[in-house]
Every structure is written in structure tokens, then in C-alpha cells.
């Protein structure tokens, strides 16, 4: 064995040498990186790429331009990084149309780096702060995301030159049990949501009888507000591929699959290309690097059912059956795809594996907390200023993640709650902000780690409506097989819908709580078992909002359309301004006898246009809840007018 693998080490050294040459060549000229993952593309990264290329051509400048993945600062997309001699490398954000060309021109022709567009420098220097100088940088500890945004995901040499495939080469020298033991000792817990120890899963599969075994990467990310897996696959697909290959070596599988949803076309494309490149370099396929070990990967595109993220449903879907979970045990590690022992790991779990093999189990347990080693990767979304991807050590608090890493709430609004763990997570209030982020603490607080979606909510978000929104998602994504999930979530959703429409009954909260407890206890799979979490956690922490809806017909956040009315404050209305009238799509706004604008409540469709259109110096349009407050306001206005006329 060692003979084979001495040869493998030599073969790999050659690959490394080539890759390093390719990598060094990049920096011989100015190097421009443009973040073009899905988030960047949505913000116009492809236009920026073209603009920069055109500008370089026009100025006859020689520079390397690379399309890279996402650095995690999605809020500032499009993002561009320039490495140029004489200056520290600078990362620019919000590089909108025209700006990219200007930076390139000024920087590369006149030596003006355009610091007004700089987000931060990448290396410590005397001129600009680096990311590490911001509160965000203090908390961040990038392991999985380290190379994201800094290497070309379509060039395997970049991955190899930055330390890639070293772990796989090392794994060739290890026995299956040695690899499994290392992962066990690292304490790695599955990042797909449940937090099950990865090493134990691998050991079960390794010990399972049979010679044909499979490994599957679960990339069926489908939570609203979550985009970690997508970003990793788009920015650094080889990391997952290397992790999957090591997993295969550990359990004795020769075939692996990447189960990825077809709604992620860019990720599918980049993973496919990465697999092809790894194969051409001898890192996948028969006799990897000339060793005795063979392993290959195939992509399976799922059609995007949320429940297919559940292991047994995922397997059913791959076998050509409807994606419906089945009773476990047996667990897939014992009897999975085609009845063979199968390890299924999430993209993130697998992405830690090469780092653990390379740096050792002790290194990994040194990060995070004792029972939750390593880092947590979160997709920050919602009302937070700095939306994007963040990787922080486990046990960082919610407060640190939202206020330091995310820079707090946008628009000067007040924080209300954070929804963690995807649609089946929970909503935690201000009082829970000191909760450390890890599997156990979040579950105790009534939420869950889930796959790492984090939606920040502010004072304008109605918690009943939020619960309804997430339950609507899980209800629709339920496979419908088992009674509790199919009918329990349906009844819960119906009740929530009634409450948000002001038709709630006093007993509704109790009924919801009872149903939720039973759906949790009675459901077949985790989708049903966790579906009631948003309802339970909002009732626990925001019961007063439920009561306001039910007892007073009032939505405290003024979000539920049936419980609000739009009203123009007469004292604030600038009579000659017609902005609201022009914006109203249903002609519900007219003048009264004093030429003050008045909304016809019968006609109003509550579209919010008038509120947006009313110039900020007037701010005359307000929302009232409950809607009958309009009549009171009208009466006040008439009485005030009479009094004034008498005087």
C-alpha cells in the first residue's frame, strides 16, 4: 500500500508544482477579481466584468481578470478586488455601473486606488483598514469560506495552489478506520441541521456489511433565506468534492453522488466542471493519483422539493420514487441507496473534512465549544444591514452575529426577532440575544441551528404573519404521507390565516399549541417534527401579538392587511401636493372641502403606494390598526374644525 501511495504523493507533488506556476503567473500583472456567484450576478457582476474588460482593452492595459465566487459580503455586491504592485490589495464594494471602469482607469493609469469605493484592504498596512479591523472581522473565523471569492472556482489549479487535495492525498495513506477515527475525534457534527456526529455516521456505514457502499453530498438546500450551500458550491466546489472523496475512502465507497437542486443552475454547472477537472488530473476516477483507490462522482439533479433534503426522501428520489421519507431505522448508513450502506452529508459538513484531515482533530476541537466544535456558517438575511454569508466560531452569540457581523438593523428600525434554522426554526426575541449559537443552545431557546438560515426581523414585522409565512411553506412542502404533518399543519395554517385576517377566536392559541405539540410528537420525519417551531416560538415570546390580533382586531406591527387602514393626517398633508393621488392605482384618494387629501377606505387596496409616494418632509400617510380608528380620526378632525370655526 505504501508503495502505491508514495507514487501518489509524487504524482500529487507534480500537480502542485504546475498549479503553483499557474497561480504565480496571475500576479505577474495587476490582478482583478470580480465576485460572480449568484448574489454578485443578481447585483450586476457580469456587466461589471464586461465593463472592466472593455476598459482594459480600450486603455490597452494588461491585467488578469478573474470571475470568482462570493466572499460573503453579499450586501456590497458587485464586489471587485484589485491586486496591484505598490499598494495593498483592496476590496471594492457597491461597484455599480461606471464605477468599475473608473476605478480600473484611475488605479492602473494614474496610481489612484480610489479609496472612496474601498470596503477594506486585504492585508494589514498603514493606509486602509482591513476586514479584521471591523467588528465583523473580529468574530469571523473562515475555514470553509476561506478561499471563497479569492480563487477561480472554474480553475482546479487555484484550489490546488491554495492547499487543495493535500488532505485527499494524505487520506490515501490512511486506513478507513484511521480517517473515521480522526473525524470522530474532531467532534464534527452534521451541518445539514440535526447536528448528528459525522464520525458516528461514518463508523456505522464502515461497519455495515457489504462491499458496495455509496456516499452522497446533500446539496438540496431549500430553506427560505438560506444560501450557504449554493455559495460554497459556486465559489469553491472542489472543497466539497475533496470532502466527498475522503468520506468515500473512509467508508469504502467507490461511487459518490452530489444531490443538488436544479434551481441552482450555476452551482450545478460549476460542480460539473470541477468534477471533470478533478477527473482529468487523476484526482477522481480509477486509481486516484496512481494509488490502489478508485472513486468517482456523479451529479443528480433534484427537482426542488424541500422534503428531499431529508435523507430517506432524498434516496427515494434518486431511486426514481416520489421523494417521500420512510420510517427509520434502518438508517441510510445501514441501508440506503438501492439498499446499500450510504453516507449522506451536507455540503458544509463535507467541506470541513479536508481541513480536519489536513490540520488534525485537535485543531478542530480547539475552535468553538466543547460539544459544538468548529465554526457556524450563517446566511444573514432580512432587515440586517450587512446581509451575506458569515462564518464564526460556534458559541458566538446572536448579539455578536447580528449587531457586530451584520451591523445591526437597517433603516434605524428596532430589532424585534431573529428567525433561525430555516422554515422549521424558531423566532427568538431581544431577550434571547445572548444565546450562543450552537446546536444545543439554540434548541433549548426554542429555535434550532438548522442548516444556517438566519432572517432578522424588525418592528415592522408581524410575528403572527411570520409564523403563518413559514408554516405556509412547510405545509406546502409536506409530502402528505403521514397524518400529523399533512393535516396537522393544514389546520394550524388555517387558524393562523384566520388570525391574521382578524377572525381569530380566543381559544385559537390553545388549539394551536395543542396541535403543535402533537404534530411534533406524532410526525414521521423531521419536516413534520419541526414544522410547528415557528408557531410555538412566536406564541412563547410574542403571545401579546397573537392576543392583539384576536381580541382587539389589531396588528401591532401594522403588517396584516386586513387589520390596517391607510390614513392621511390632515395636519400634515400639504394640500397642493398630489403625489399620493398620482401613485394610487385605484383612484381611492381625493380632496375634501379643505383640499386635504382623503382616502376612500372602500376603494383602497392597501398597496402602500401612497405611503411610499408621500414626500418624506410631510410623512402624512400613516397606517392605523385596527382599521376603525379611521372613523375616530375623522371625527376628531371634524370636531377640531368646528371648534376652530366657532372661535
Amino acid at each position: 500500500m505504501s508503495n502505491h501511495n508514495a507514487a501518489a504523493a509524487a504524482a500529487f507533488a507534480k500537480l502542485q508544482e504546475e498549479a503553483q506556476k499557474d497561480w504565480d503567473r496571475l500576479r505577474e500583472k495587476p490582478l482583478i477579481l470580480i465576485g460572480a456567484a449568484t448574489c454578485g450576478r443578481a447585483a450586476g457582476a457580469l456587466n461589471l466584468l464586461e465593463e472592466v474588460k472593455n476598459e482594459l482593452a480600450e486603455l490597452k492595459l494588461d491585467a488578469n481578470v478573474l470571475e470568482v465566487g462570493c466572499m460573503g459580503h453579499c450586501y456590497a455586491e458587485p464586489i471587485m478586488v484589485i491586486y496591484n504592485e505598490g499598494f495593498p490589495a483592496i476590496c471594492y464594494g457597491y461597484v455599480t455601473e461606471g464605477v468599475g471602469a473608473r476605478i480600473v482607469r484611475d488605479y492602473l493609469t494614474e496610481g489612484d486606488p480610489g479609496i472612496e469605493f474601498a470596503l477594506a484592504a486585504l492585508e494589514p498596512n498603514d493606509m486602509f483598514p482591513t476586514f479584521a479591523d471591523f467588528p465583523r472581522g473580529i468574530h469571523e473565523n473562515k475555514i470553509v469560506l476561506e478561499q471563497c471569492g479569492f480563487i477561480d472556482p472554474q480553475n482546479i489549479d487555484h484550489y490546488i495552489a491554495t492547499g487543495g487535495y493535500v488532505a485527499l492525498t494524505r487520506a490515501l495513506d490512511m486506513t478507513s478506520q484511521e480517517i473515521v477515527t480522526t473525524i470522530k475525534e474532531s467532534g464534527l457534527r452534521g451541518r445539514g441541521g440535526a447536528g448528528f456526529p459525522t464520525g458516528i455516521k461514518w463508523q456505522t456505514c464502515l461497519d455495515a456489511p457489504g462491499t458496495t457502499k455509496y456516499v452522497i453530498c446533500n446539496a438540496d438546500e431549500g430553506d427560505p433565506g438560506a444560501f450557504m450551500d449554493r455559495t460554497i458550491l459556486e465559489s469553491n466546489p472542489h472543497l466539497m468534492i475533496e470532502g466527498l472523496a475522503i468520506a468515500a475512502r473512509a467508508v469504502g465507497a467507490t461511487k459518490g453522488y452530489v444531490y443538488i437542486r436544479a434551481e441552482y443552475p450555476l452551482a450545478v454547472e460549476r460542480v460539473a466542471l470541477a468534477i471533470e477537472q478533478a477527473r482529468s488530473k487523476g484526482l477522481l476516477g480509477d486509481n486516484i493519483l496512481g494509488s490502489d483507490y478508485s472513486f468517482d462522482i456523479e451529479i443528480f439533479q433534484g427537482s426542488g422539493a424541500f422534503v428531499c433534503g431529508e435523507e430517506s426522501a432524498l434516496i427515494a428520489s434518486m431511486e426514481g420514487e416520489p421523494g417521500i421519507p420512510r420510517h427509520r431505522p434502518p438508517f441510510p448508513a445501514q441501508s440506503g441507496l438501492w439498499g446499500r450502506p450510504t453516507v449522506i452529508n451536507n455540503v458544509k459538513s463535507l467541506s470541513y473534512v479536508p481541513h480536519i484531515i489536513k490540520n488534525g482533530a485537535a485543531w478542530f476541537t480547539g475552535i468553538g465549544s466543547e460539544k459544538n466544535p468548529g465554526t457556524a456558517i450563517f446566511a444573514l438575511a432580512g432587515k440586517v444591514v450587512n446581509t451575506g454569508l458569515a462564518e464564526v466560531p460556534m458559541s458566538t452569540t446572536l448579539n455578536e452575529l447580528i449587531n457586530d457581523v451584520g451591523s445591526g438593523i437597517a433603516g434605524g428600525k428596532k430589532f424585534k426577532a431573529v428567525q433561525i434554522g430555516g422554515p422549521s426554526g424558531g423566532c427568538l426575541p431581544e431577550s434571547a440575544m445572548d444565546t450562543p449559537i450552537d446546536f444545543d443552545s439554540l434548541t433549548r431557546a426554542g429555535a434550532m441551528m438548522g442548516s444556517g438560515g438566519m432572517v432578522v426581523l424588525d418592528e415592522d414585522d408581524c410575528m403572527v404573519e411570520i409564523a403563518r409565512f413559514f408554516l405556509d411553506f412547510t405545509q406546502q412542502e409536506s409530502c402528505g404521507k403521514c397524518t400529523f404533518c399533512r393535516l396537522g399543519t393544514k389546520h394550524m395554517l388555517d387558524i393562523l390565516e384566520r388570525i391574521t385576517k382578524g377572525q381569530g377566536k380566543p381559544e385559537d392559541i390553545d388549539t394551536l399549541t395543542q396541535l403543535a405539540a402533537k404534530v411534533k410528537a406524532g410526525s414521521l420525519c423531521s419536516l413534520g417534527k419541526t414544522a410547528p417551531n415557528p408557531v410555538l416560538s412566536t406564541i412563547k415570546y410574542f403571545r401579546d401579538e397573537y392576543e392583539a390580533h384576536i381580541n382587539e382586531g389589531r396588528c401591532p406591527s401594522k403588517m396584516c392587511k386586513d387589520l390596517i387602514a391607510y390614513y392621511i393626517l390632515p395636519e400634515k398633508c400639504e394640500r397642493s401636493c398630489d403625489a399620493c393621488v398620482g401613485s394610487c392605482p385605484v383612484e381611492a384618494i381625493g380632496d375634501n372641502e379643505d383640499r386635504i387629501k382623503v382616502i376612500d377606505q372602500e376603494k383602497c387596496v392597501k398597496c402602500d403606494s401612497c405611503m411610499v409616494a408621500c414626500p418624506p418632509q410631510y410623512k402624512a400617510v400613516v397606517k392605523l390598526s385596527p382599521p376603525h380608528l379611521v372613523e375616530e380620526k375623522d371625527r376628531e378632525y371634524r370636531e377640531g374644525k368646528q371648534k376652530w370655526q366657532k372661535q
Binding site: A305, P322, R326, H327, Q475, Q476, E477, S478, C479, G480, K481, C482, T483, F484, R486, L487, G488, T489, K490, H491, D494, T511, Q514, L515, K518, A521, G522, S523, L524
Partner: protein
């Protein structure tokens, strides 16, 4: 040759074949546990109706009896406050989505839902939940069979029977609350490849499928 294990159900000691699912061991010994979807022939339990919960000594939460292989010394209770409330809720959920018309139903007197209601002293008409009637058309297009999807509890017995003894006409379609037993493409039974063998009618526990 037949090796057996001794288990205790509701303080009664019984013998069963090791590895057999508890539900069958109990039923064979005249201990009734409510169930709709379970099938003895099925190698892997569907465990979808969620009615056969029992309390197992040493386990914190109730377990479906159809998924629990018996082992020596297993101690089980078919009734406990936890089990009863779970089964009551599961039953109420099913009944909230079952068109109730016992008087005119072919299964009247021989209905599994009536049997469960009687055994567990549960009401057929849901007490706390509103009735969700999908109001789907009744399919009487086949020569001998009438199918009323509004009565169906989605136990899947007919789908299995149809695959085994019939023509594989019936199957599940759609997701979540819209899940339904239907033919390929949703065509009426009379226009499908149904052979009117009646295997589905024989196994339907609730009268959703009936002989004309």
C-alpha cells in the same frame, strides 16, 4: 424450531417470533391497537397513519407498534395518557378530513374508523377541529367500483392490493394536503386500465372504495 421471545403487553405475557413487529404480535393475541396503514406483507412499514402508538418501557416517547420489532423482555403498554392523547389527536385529524356519512356508507358496521372510535371511546365527529371537506368528485365510472376520495384516509391499502392482485392502476399523487389516491394521469377509473377485480374494495378500511 420456532424460537420465540417473551414480551409483556399491558401486563400480559405473550410469546412472539423475534423480530416480528409488535403490532402483529399484539393483534395475534387479541390485543387491539388502532391501525390503518399497516400491512403484514410489507417488508418495510409505511408508518403513515400514525395511530398505532404504544408506550415502550425505557423510551421517552410513544413508538408506532408497526415499526417496533419485538425483542426478549420488551415491555409495552397500549394505553397511557401520552399515547391516548396522541392517538386521539391523530384520529381527530383524520376524521376532520373524512366525509362522514355512516348511514349511507357501504362500510357502515364494518368500518375501521368506527372500530377505533369504539375501542378508544373517541368521537367520529371532530370536537375541536373544523371539517375540511375537499369536495372532490365521486368516481363511479368503473363497472363495479365506486370511489369517493372524500372518504379516503390515504392508508395505501388499496394501492398495495392493486399492485399485487390488480393491474397497478391505483397510486398516490400530489403533495401535502392535496395528496390523493388516483389513477395514472388522474383519469376516471372507468377510463383507466382498471380490471374491476375489486381487490381494492376488499381492503379499503373506510368505505372510500365500494362495490356498486
Amino acid at each position: 424450531m420456532a424460537e420465540t421471545v417473551t414480551i409483556t403487553i399491558d401486563d400480559r405475557q405473550i410469546q412472539a417470533a423475534p423480530g416480528e413487529m409488535l403490532l402483529w404480535a399484539a393483534l395475534d393475541n387479541d390485543i387491539y391497537i388502532p391501525h390503518l396503514c399497516a400491512s403484514r406483507e410489507e417488508a418495510h412499514p409505511t408508518a403513515s397513519c400514525r395511530l398505532c402508538f404504544v408506550e415502550v418501557e425505557g423510551r421517552p416517547a410513544p413508538v408506532p407498534a408497526c415499526t417496533l420489532p419485538v425483542t426478549e423482555g420488551l415491555v409495552v403498554k397500549t394505553r397511557s395518557p401520552q399515547v391516548d392523547s396522541l392517538v386521539a389527536m391523530g384520529f381527530e385529524l383524520l376524521m376532520s378530513n373524512h366525509r362522514l356519512d355512516c348511514k349511507n356508507c357501504s362500510a357502515n358496521g364494518n368500518c375501521e374508523l368506527q372500530r377505533i372510535a369504539k375501542a378508544r371511546k373517541l368521537r367520529l365527529k371532530p370536537k375541536n377541529l373544523p371539517v375540511l371537506d375537499k369536495n372532490l368528485p365521486v368516481d363511479d365510472s368503473a363497472a363495479n367500483i365506486v370511489y369517493d376520495p372524500n372518504k379516503c384516509v390515504l392508508c395505501g391499502q388499496c394501492v398495495r392490493a392493486c399492485r399485487k392482485s390488480g393491474n397497478g392502476t391505483l397510486g398516490f399523487a400530489r403533495r401535502g394536503y392535496l395528496r390523493v389516491v388516483t389513477t395514472f394521469g388522474g383519469v376516471p377509473l372507468g377510463e383507466s386500465n382498471c380490471t374491476n377485480c375489486g381487490a381494492c374494495v376488499k381492503v379499503c378500511p373506510v368505505g372510500a372504495l365500494a362495490q356498486k
